[in-house]
């Protein structure tokens, strides 16, 4: 008896009971669907986090004001860096640091032509443009000269062309931010986005201008530092700490009043959180697979009881125990595989919809498909083996007599 024979027999038997076949696969469908959707959504989320960090680069270091005890949490908004602290940091002689930038942002009402909308205004200082790898699509980028002159100029995100500037190239146009006129000097090239961070609809102006015209004071909420090389990130962090302690006058026995992290640390703490999330949902998937598997065992017992006479007949014409075992195992695997394939399709559709809704990048879930197929085959095997073994051990005479 070969593989094709087994498949044909199982198919004939399953087809003759379409309704029952479908219901016995339901648990597997739900379980595999959950696995695939989870993996898909989880992957998209992860990818989007990575994307947003890619735009910073692996040699980036972040400094937030205040002492952060846990790995990942909001900065204490009461603490800030001042512009003069950042400027002293920039001017300080450094060995492992090649770029320093600082930023802060607030939403303001922006008026262009007849439209007035609330937009995110980002005040940038230092090497912000370079560290974040901004490039100009139209016009030019912000320069140190703009900063020194406190020029009322703005670099705008590419999404704003459609969303705010009525599809026109805004370079050279004037808009009013919180009542002050600014000239648009450039549009930057579209950057990778994520649900956490979409710079493409920001308006960027020099921080010096920001602190003079938009907010009083010169408080910066985030300083980013670029190490000269990814392998010197640790040295750059130490250097950052010792310089900032001097500038901010932290005493020898006092703790830092700021927190230094590199992008790897932040990424891994985010991964830890998404890991807990997917772990929790995977256990739900595992439970439905288990329930589905038990359902398959059940349905196989029903099927075998109904076909006791058939088993007796097959044995009387020469079927070996192994033939019967494989026949019913093939059948249970086909049931779970069918459920698995339906589950994979539904799961892919679900994760596609979810990533659209959550605005995450859509990924191709090849390993999710592989895992779905693998899971359903294994479950068919595990939950089919017991009934199949019972069937194969039936005494032919008793089976033939069964009514």
């Amino acid at each position: 008896m070969d593989f094709i024979d087994h498949i044909t027999i199982s198919f004939t038997s399953l087809r003759s009971n379409v309704f029952r076949t479908f219901f016995s696969t339901l648990g597997i469908i739900i379980g595999v669907m959950a696995v695939v959707a989870l993996l898909g959504i989880g992957k998209s989320a992860q990818r989007s986090i990575e994307l947003s960090f890619d735009s910073f680069g692996s040699n980036s270091i972040y400094v937030v004001p205040g002492q952060q005890s846990d790995n990942f949490g909001p900065p204490n908004l009461a603490d800030t860096f001042t512009l003069s602290e950042v400027d002293r940091f920039i001017d300080y002689p450094k060995k492992y640091i090649e770029g320093i930038a600082a930023q802060t942002f607030t939403n303001f009402r922006v008026q262009y032509g007849n439209t007035t909308e609330s937009q995110t205004i980002l005040g940038s200082h230092g090497d912000y443009i370079e560290i974040q790898n901004f490039e100009a699509e139209y016009g030019r980028l912000l320069t140190k000269k703009d900063s020194d002159q406190r020029a009322k100029v703005a670099l705008v995100g590419p999404d704003l062309i459609e969303d705010f500037f009525n599809g026109e190239n805004p370079v050279g146009k004037t808009m009013r931010i919180n009542g002050t006129s600014f000239t648009v000097i450039g549009v930057f090239k579209k950057k990778g986005t994520s649900s956490f961070d979409n710079p493409n609809d920001d308006i960027m102006i020099p921080f010096t201008t920001y602190s003079q015209y938009l907010v009083s004071g010169d408080n910066l909420s985030l300083v980013s530092v670029e190490a000269i090389d990814p392998k010197f990130v640790e040295q750059a962090k130490d250097e950052t700490r010792s310089i900032l302690r001097k500038i901010r006058g932290v005493g020898t026995n006092q703790e830092d009043d700021f927190t230094v992290r590199d992008s790897g640390e932040i990424l891994s703490s985010i991964n830890q959180i998404t890991g807990i999330f997917t772990g929790f949902l995977s256990s739900i998937a595992a439970i439905s697979l288990l329930v589905g598997g038990i359902g398959v065992t059940n349905i196989m017992f029903v099927s075998i009881t109904e076909r006791t006479k058939e088993i007796g007949l097959r044995k009387s014409i020469g079927a070996k125990n192994r033939d019967i075992l494989i026949q019913f195992l093939t059948e249970s695997i086909m049931v779970t595989l069918l459920g698995g394939i339906i589950g994979i399709c539904v799961g892919i559709i679900l994760s596609f919809i979810a990533s659209k809704l959550l605005d995450l990048p859509t990924e191709i879930y090849l390993d999710a498909i592989g895992l779905g197929v693998l899971f359903s085959v294994i479950i068919g095997l595990i939950f089919g083996i017991y009934p199949a073994q019972k069937a194969s051990k039936l005494n032919p005479i008793d089976a033939l007599r069964y009514e």
């Binding site: 097959r314 044995k315 014409i317 070996k320 033939d323």
Partner: protein
């Protein structure tokens, strides 16, 4: 000697006790004999046929088939004998309802090493022998009782077995179709030189055969060869 039973006992356990269905059967059957087994209900006819067909094993005694002691064979070897040397025909037909006449007839090939490209040809030949060459694609529920039993006979023939065992093959049929079925057995016997053993209640059916064995209470009480 094709079949040789020596002192065959068969006991069934019922609850805490046991029931002796065969109490020391001695029997020899030559190749190409056409034998009827008769006897009252419960006398052990089916039990004996199952032992002859290697579907069941005796509790005591030895069974030599073609000179081989069946008692020494394992499960797989017994399956192979059932597949290649023995054809069964049951009173209740035992066709698979979802399968066509042709597929039912080809069923024994699944467990054999007959090459795939010969299977259909041989199954059609068998079906033609029983007069069903035109019903290949019908399902069993589209056939009459006599036709269904003829499919079962065709199925028992496809492997060209040495021995055909039939347990009351006409028991569920009226006299006329019963006679048709027995005519087929007679013809197979004379044409194929197969050994055929038929259990029956009816003396008229036994008249088709060359030898009648009477069983009573698990023992052979009479064994007569007709002309």
């Amino acid at each position: 000697m094709l079949i040789s039973l020596k002192n065959i006992h068969k006991s069934y356990t019922i609850g805490s006790g046991s029931y002796l269905a065969l109490k020391g059967v001695n029997l020899q059957i030559e190749k190409s004999e056409f034998v009827a087994i008769m006897g009252p209900s419960g006398s052990g006819k089916s039990t004996m046929l199952h032992i002859l067909g290697c579907l069941d094993t005796p509790s005591e005694g030895t069974y030599h088939l073609n000179g081989k002691n069946v008692g020494t064979l394992n499960d797989n070897e017994l399956s192979t004998i059932r597949n290649s040397q023995i054809g069964f025909v049951f009173q209740s037909f035992n066709l698979l309802p979802k399968f066509s006449v042709l597929d039912n007839t080809m069923l024994p090939f699944l467990y054999s090493d007959v090459p795939k490209n010969e299977r259909k040809k041989r199954a059609v030949e068998s079906l033609e022998k029983v007069g069903l060459g035109s019903k290949l694609d019908n399902k069993p529920n589209q056939l009459s009782g006599g036709q269904i039993q003829r499919v079962a006979i065709a199925r028992s023939l496809v492997m060209k077995p040495n021995i055909i065992l039939a347990d009351e093959p006409t028991g569920n049929l009226d006299t006329k179709t019963g006679d048709e079925v027995m005519d087929i057995f007679s013809r197979i016997h004379s044409e194929e030189k197969a050994t055929i053993i038929v259990i029956t209640h009816e003396p008229e059916i036994a008249e088709y055969t060359d030898r009648t064995i009477m069983l009573k209470d698990g023992l052979i009480v009479n064994d007569t060869k007709s002309a």
